[in-house]
């Protein structure tokens, strides 16, 4: 039971808003020592895992590209384009993105979009421009909410699209797990059962996006 103290450290540390990096190191040391490892062994385990997980941080190499594009005015151009589209609202724009993200993820193309690649340089400025067009007096707080909703839409799209693709990591993990338990399933048998949830995700999140438009309109009128 004592290794669970590490989880308690995480929960309390995040709740008290300590620096998450410090919380994680403390949690790792706590759980490791509680499980009977000595301090150098826990530090070495942490170092080994950090080294093998470098691929998690490697995609940051895209930042120079995004920075160069921003320098040349990509975000400004994205705002101009969306301002010229008749009937473009924050909710409808994000709904279209949600559909596109789910469909491409279902084809295995999860890497073609993301928070650094598409949300910061394109989607967020477009959603913000549409929100500002609907309500010229929009507050900074509401602008931030629109940006957060853009990031949320990217997450929902990729999470509830990717499992329809046969060769995605989670499907392979499920197949492998069931196989070791003596149950043989094909990836297709698993991925078809991702479809009902994918549709539900589109309906639930899509409803919220269109509702965002209605609430924003009401707010603008009230001003």
């Amino acid at each position: 039971m004592w290794p669970l103290l590490g989880i308690a450290v995480v929960v309390v540390g995040f709740a008290l808003r300590f620096n998450p990096l410090v919380v994680i190191i403390t949690a790792a040391l706590t759980s490791g020592i509680a499980a009977g490892l000595d301090l150098p062994a826990v530090i070495a385990a942490l170092g080994k895992a950090f080294n093998t997980n470098r691929y998690v941080s490697a995609p940051w190499i895209i930042l120079p590209v995004i920075g160069l594009l921003e320098r040349a005015g990509l975000r400004e151009r994205a705002r101009t384009v969306i301002a010229g589209v008749a009937g473009a609202t924050t909710g409808r724009l994000l709904l279209a993105y949600l559909l596109l993200r789910q469909l491409t993820a279902a084809l295995g193309l999860t890497g073609i979009a993301g928070h650094a690649q598409t949300v910061r340089p394109l989607l967020a400025p477009m959603a913000e421009a549409a929100a500002a067009a609907a309500d010229p007096a929009i507050t900074d707080e509401d602008r931030q909410k629109v940006r957060a909703l853009a990031a949320a839409t990217d997450n929902v799209g990729v999470f509830f699209g990717e499992d329809i693709f046969l060769a995605v990591a989670s499907i392979l993990l499920i197949k492998g797990f069931l196989e070791t338990s003596g149950i043989i399933v094909s990836p297709l048998q698993l991925s078809v059962w991702a479809i009902p949830t994918a549709i539900a995700a589109f309906l639930v999140h899509g409803f919220r996006l269109l509702r965002h438009d209605r609430l924003a309109r009401r707010k603008a009128v009230a001003k």
């Binding site: 290794p3 669970l4 808003r17 990096l21 190191i25 490791g32 499980a35 490892l37 826990v42 385990a45 942490l46 170092g47 080994k48 895992a49 950090f50 080294n51 997980n53 470098r54 998690v56 941080s57 490697a58 940051w60 190499i61 120079p64 590209v65 920075g67 160069l68 594009l69 320098r71 040349a72 400004e76 151009r77 890497g111 073609i112 979009a113 928070h115 650094a116 910061r120 340089p121 967020a124 909410k145 940006r147 990031a151 949320a152 997450n155 999470f159 509830f160 499992d163 990591a169 993990l173 499920i174 797990f177 149950i183 399933v185 698993l190 059962w193 991702a194 949830t197 639930v204 919220r208």
Partner: protein
């Protein structure tokens, strides 16, 4: 064979570039600490395999010490101002979107086309790492195209990257560190303990409550670990297989596939899934670190209920 080593070299050189530019940034409020942070990260990417486990562990502690004591900060920016950008946007128009497509297009082509390229029977690209390797290639091509087309100063790619990464700050290593925490938790046997606890609270005789314990367990353990992949084997072994599949004769494909998606609902709710929830908040310069999670709650909870009902309604026909 071109694989992870190539990717890590590209990333390591970029981090080293950020360290040097930080060191040269005389107006930087935390010049030495920030340069040390990027320098250590560069060392990890360029020479991590030579440092040994304990060496890497001490490097991690140093990175966290720098970030945790506030020695990592934003430097001064050397970029274009709003007027320059508006003028450039007007001048270049929609052609600006084309270079933005180079990286995704290379990733797409690479994933499908690079598989077959062999030299003397050896694959040119590591088949397991095609997406990441083609990402690196796409980045290099895109930078080359943008430099030739727009003719910015020579240091612009590194400077502009530094401007963005300074906005993200310590959160840049959070996902990698969380993955490492997962490894230590696994070593400490956390999964087995949680699975044991979940297995003891299954109520007798109610199929719906058994499904509910499974989906809530998937979401809850994902919230703790930040990753549904870590929760899946634990909850499947504790509840999914012995109770839902063996005892109640549920369809294993449906239980497993939709159970994983119940876990994804947990991913939407946790700061531990830093890549998806905390990093974008930094990247989009939101004041509230948890703003993205708050925007996801009203989607995640109904979906968790729907996933529970889907397993209950579909798996036991």
């Amino acid at each position: 064979m071109i694989g992870l080593a190539f990717l890590y070299t590209v990333a390591g050189l970029l981090f080293a570039g950020w360290a040097l530019l930080t060191l040269a940034d005389r107006r930087h409020p935390k010049r030495i600490g920030s340069a040390a942070f990027w320098g250590l990260l560069a060392l990890s990417f360029l020479a991590g395999d030579a440092l040994g486990d304990l060496g890497n562990g001490l490097l991690v502690l140093a990175l966290v010490a720098i970030a945790g004591t506030g020695q990592l900060a934003r430097g001064s920016e050397s970029t274009t101002d709003n007027a320059d950008r508006a003028a450039s946007a007007r001048h270049h128009g929609n052609r600006l979107f084309l270079p933005a497509l180079i990286v995704p297009a290379t990733a797409l082509i690479g994933t499908f086309a690079f598989k077959g390229i062999t030299i003397a029977g050896v694959p040119l690209f590591d088949p397991k790492q095609l997406t990441l390797v083609s990402l690196a290639l796409g980045v290099i091509i895109a930078i080359a195209v943008l430099m030739l087309w727009l003719r910015p100063p020579l240091a612009a790619p590194i400077e502009e990257g530094r401007r963005l990464v300074d906005a993200i700050g310590w959160a840049i290593i959070l996902p990698q560190l969380l993955a490492s925490l997962g490894a230590v938790f696994a070593l400490a046997g956390i999964g087995g303990i949680i699975g044991g606890l979940a297995g003891t609270i299954i109520p007798e005789g109610s199929r719906f409550l058994a499904v509910l314990v499974f989906t809530l367990g998937m979401a809850g353990f994902t919230i703790i670990m930040g990753n549904a992949f870590a929760a899946f084997p634990v909850m499947m072994a504790a509840v999914g297989l012995p109770v839902l599949v063996v005892k109640l004769a549920g369809d294993p494909a449906i239980v497993a596939a939709i159970g994983m998606l119940a876990g994804f609902c947990g991913t939407l709710l946790t700061p531990m899934a830093a890549n998806f929830n905390i990093v974008p908040a930094a990247l989009l310069e939101l004041d509230d670190r948890n703003a993205v999670i708050k925007a996801q709650v009203a989607t995640a909870l109904p979906l968790l209920a729907i996933n529970t009902l889907l397993i209950w309604g579909l798996a036991f026909r």
